[in-house]
């Protein structure tokens, strides 16, 4: 059984908002509009949305790592 570790790099974020649209439970933005991860280990039912969010990021600022639970 593996879980998903979500990290995001605000220094390369360009405020496309795609992650917030696709997985609002997991991603948010700070006052400068830069990505913030709300839930670094989201439950399994959100994994599909999180993967779509990562694929949709125009600067590939979201990194997903499979790791043991």
């Amino acid at each position: 059984m593996t879980g998903l570790l979500v990290t995001a790099d605000p220094t390369t974020c360009v405020t496309s908002c795609m992650c917030v649209y696709r997985a609002p439970e997991v991603f948010d933005q700070d006052d400068d509009g830069l990505v913030v991860v709300l839930d670094a280990r989201p439950p399994a039912e959100l994994h599909d949305a999180v993967r779509r969010a990562a694929r949709g990021c125009p600067t590939q600022s979201i990194t997903l790592t499979d790791q043991p639970l």
Binding site: V14, T15, S16, Y21, Q29, D32, G33, G56, P58, T59
Partner: protein
Amino acid sequence: MSLPDAVDYPFAWEPPMEVPAGWRTLREHSLQPVRLPSGDPAVLVTRYRDVKALFSDHRLSRNTGRYPTSRISPNNEIFNDPEIDNDPPRYLEERSLVVRAFSARRIESLRPHVWEIADELMDAMAAAEQPVDLMESFAFPLPIRVICRLLGVPHEEHAKFRELVDGFLSVTKLPTEEVERCRVGLWTYLGELIDAKRHHPTNDLTSELVKISDEDQKKLSDHQLQHWVQTLLIAGYVTTASQIGTSMAVLLHRPHLVREVQADFGIVPTAVEELLRYQLMGTSLGSLRYCLEDIELSDGTVVPKGSTVMLSVESNFDEEVFTCPMDLDIHRRENNHMSFGSGIHYCAGAPLARMELQVSMEGLLRRFPGLRLAQPGEDLPRVEGGFLGGFSYVPVRW
């Protein structure tokens, strides 16, 4: 590897409601030489995977005014200001001042205001004699009122502003001196706007940019400030207007899709996204870049140093990425299209444009349940010689 013969760009839309047949075969070659409207040469990167990679490749410069880059047209200065540094790190510093206004939360807070504008425009449509031109009565006035409010342009100056932008953006349609008059007029107007906000700040993005810039030891020069405000105005207006009207025309041309949306307005965001991918209004001219070093594409073809490069929005039809790409599928789930670009130059106004498109589609189809084209979609005229290729006239009835 030899390249195919050069073709004229942008591609002709014949018939006007269909994606040009040539786009099916475009990706047989990873690099397609083209002639721009100016007659100057460029190369078009055709495949999605290359386009996506090159949008993040620093060997392509956006400083098209600093290098011997091919011109889009002989008399258009857009993207060609040599005083503006459009490459990192400077570009990113300046951009970061602007994009905070386009966070998901700030855009959502504007949504009720966009609904208000849409309702007002639809009230006027309802009172008018049919058919009504959707472009003139809705698609153009909506985004200009939104962006003018965002930037603090007074209501009584919208018409003057619109005339200047329309002239400035005309790539080949107007005589050189007329485009120049509009370019200078717009630039002067924006200088005056910034000056006014400096002395009498109001609650808008221009005032905020002036304040940030002045507080931080003139972080932006007046020229840079003016350039950013101009970019936001132009980008926030014409592209959105064209996409609102053209995407509605494309949808109304397919009444069964209209009924699907009306049966479940929850699919509006997905439908808007698919109509963005389908791109009946855009071209790749906005992606013009200058190649600083030889760049090898995924199949080994080399983009030569010194060439002018376009990253194709036509890659939205790459079957390697999109299932049945020539079909308009308003339920398409994974839709990472290139219509807003990719990488660090990703359209800063994309969240605003998406919201305006969603309000427009839902608003029009709710308010006018019988909305339909008043003449066959195949007969709708296209914008001639403009930077964008959408429809210029979309008569509707309900």
